[in-house]
Symmetry: C2
Subunit: 336 residues, 2 copies
DNA sequence: CGGGATGATTGAATCTGTTCAACCCGGGTG
DNA sequence: CACCCGGGTTGAACAGATTCAATCATCCCG
């Protein structure tokens, strides 16, 4: 594979000049620049990013580590990040922790070896162990879809408590007095916060704490939703509405209810979270709490670029909190 | 940031020994190995992948370039590839061409600079220009979800003609005589082949060529499906069944039909393609042609690893063709 | 006890770019 | 005429690892 040396020789200049053509073209006379460039294309020279990075120090790759790549919500987040990264001339490496702390740690180790420009991540658990490691290694990182507790790191998140309130207020105002909450593993802040939001609304409405019936799910995917839905049907006193921690769970619950002949929304109202594209296409179009996923990824990436760019000195850590929005569809329409 | 030199000094050995501890631990005495390893952890040393790669020549990253990351089908493909890659100790870089030839070329240029181990890709168009560039640069690559025309490259694909036949045979055998085909931009082989398969079945059934009504779509996503569905409804002689080039289109068509009060499957039967998870959760559970997406990604990655691994000399290019499978659900059940 | 085999370790060369001090050269200035 | 200036170019140092021939220490065997 042809290197910068051969290009220099073929163009009759020094390697320093070739490097300048690549990196600071304005510092090279037009004549030389054109000559070198034509040699580059005719020889098919491709610069070695590893050599560049080794000397220059900085990488051109941003890593994105999401909780669950099969959830379209995170795909949107990653797409937003990708858009911003490409505009800044960076590549992105999207990886999936699948909610496994081990996988998360493995990927972060990989990123560290790669000396990536920075990492966008939604941490698997609240322990913050991996975050501490990132800080210790001096790897820039930004939390996505999770508000940071610390002032030493940026974050972009959506107000999950507000989202939980939106969902619950909607259900309470349409007459429901007993609501099931289908949450995933409670280690996740998102799951917890949405529940807290719903709970405050029920309390404000003067309903007891047991107005919110907890139905745990083993995960946050459709299969876990189906499972939770089946258990929901087995409850002694069945709630009249279900609020799910995300749309995948809601779709699963919907399938389980359908299979059992329970009608939505007539027998049970259903509200999801995220408003993924498929929520609108569901068996019964799903009421959902919309999150600005793409914007979240985009903004997080922009903050990372600012933090690691030339004027990084001016960077101040900050916590951006975006607002969710309720989208009402058929699944929670008031029964006639 | 601490380098291998500091580790060597602190452990009282040469840098060659430290390198051996990292790469060929069996060549180092247990005592030294343990000492070096403890120094590594206590100093927080992280090897620089760019330096490693520069010297060693080979990268530890496999690139995956998919047509549309918002399509869960491709997410599955990428997940399969990721699984295989991780088992081989490789990282993956998943990128999205979004069916843009420009983006595809940009990403391939990025991969070339990175000297990635190899590329898994579903090319945007049949021109093969980018493939020629890959070959010229000596970058190993494998086509995914697309049968290669050339013997000089591996491919893993699903028999799309057979898939089209499965769908059409199912519809014909349930009594349909006029079928609409909703395809995306016809530049895509997948779209073309599925249509060809359907067509042959109609011909074999003695139906004329105009038994297949073409409804073009601007893309292969839900929005394009909605649009195509609306146009379908405007047709003078409305077909009794619709076969869509993928599930996203089918979900969009379904929404359009719903909005217009057309019942599925009573008024129009609907068949999709890919059998993504959301097909089963649709308004009316979708009949679909299932593709082994995860397996396809996994196998492609394994072939790439073989091609670029230590015994690459033994590698022979081959074209693996997997078989699709029809999954019948409510959307195409025979009307009572 | 010398010679050879074995195993651990070392030192230097190398990979491919970036960077920067030094240099060259033509033109303007005192 | 000497000097300075600045744009263009060069050459060498350098980044952080891998790799391999050479060295050294041990131990075994004849």
């Amino acid at each position: 594979m042809v290197g910068i040396k051969e290009v220099a020789r073929a163009a009759g200049v020094s390697i320093g000049t070739v490097s300048n053509v690549l990196n600071r073209p304005e510092a090279v006379s037009e004549e030389t620049r054109l000559r070198v460039q034509s040699v580059i294309t005719s020889l098919g020279y491709v610069r070695s990013e590893s050599a560049r990075q080794l000397r220059a120090g900085s990488s051109r790759i941003m890593a994105v580590l999401v909780l669950d790549i099969r959830n379209p919500f995170f795909v949107d987040v990653a797409s937003g990040a990708e858009r911003a990264a490409r505009e800044a001339g960076l590549g992105v490496m999207v990886c999936n922790s699948g909610q496994s702390a081990q996988d998360e740690a493995d990927y972060l180790a990989l990123f560290a070896e790669q000396r990536v420009r920075g990492v966008l991540l939604t941490p698997v658990d609240g322990s913050g162990r991996d975050l501490a490691a990132l800080r210790a290694q001096g790897i820039a990182h930004i939390l996505v879809d999770r508000a940071a507790a610390s002032e030493a790191v940026c974050s972009v998140s959506v107000d999950d408590v507000a989202g939980g309130r939106l969902a619950a207020r909607h259900l309470v105002s349409t007459g429901h007095r007993s609501i099931a909450y289908v949450g995933g593993p409670s280690g996740l802040d998102q799951v917890r916060d949405r529940r807290v939001g719903a709970l405050t609304v029920l309390e404000e409405a003067g309903l007891g704490e047991d107005a919110l019936v907890e139905v745990s799910a083993v995960g946050l995917d459709v299969a876990a939703g189906r499972d939770a839905g089946a258990r929901l049907l087995g409850l002694a006193s069945r709630p009249t509405a279900v609020f799910c921690a995300n749309d995948l769970l809601a779709l699963g619950v919907l399938q389980a209810l359908f299979a059992a002949g329970v009608r939505v929304p007539e027998d049970i109202a259903l509200v999801g979270y995220d408003d993924i594209e498929f929520a609108a296409a569901a068996a019964v179009p799903l009421t959902s709490v919309r999150q600005p996923a793409f914007a979240m990824g985009q903004q997080a990436a922009e903050m990372l670029i600012e933090e690691t760019g030339p004027q990084s000195a001016a960077h101040r850590h900050r916590h951006v909190v975006l607002q969710p929005e309720l989208v009402v569809r058929q699944s929670s329409m008031r029964a006639r």
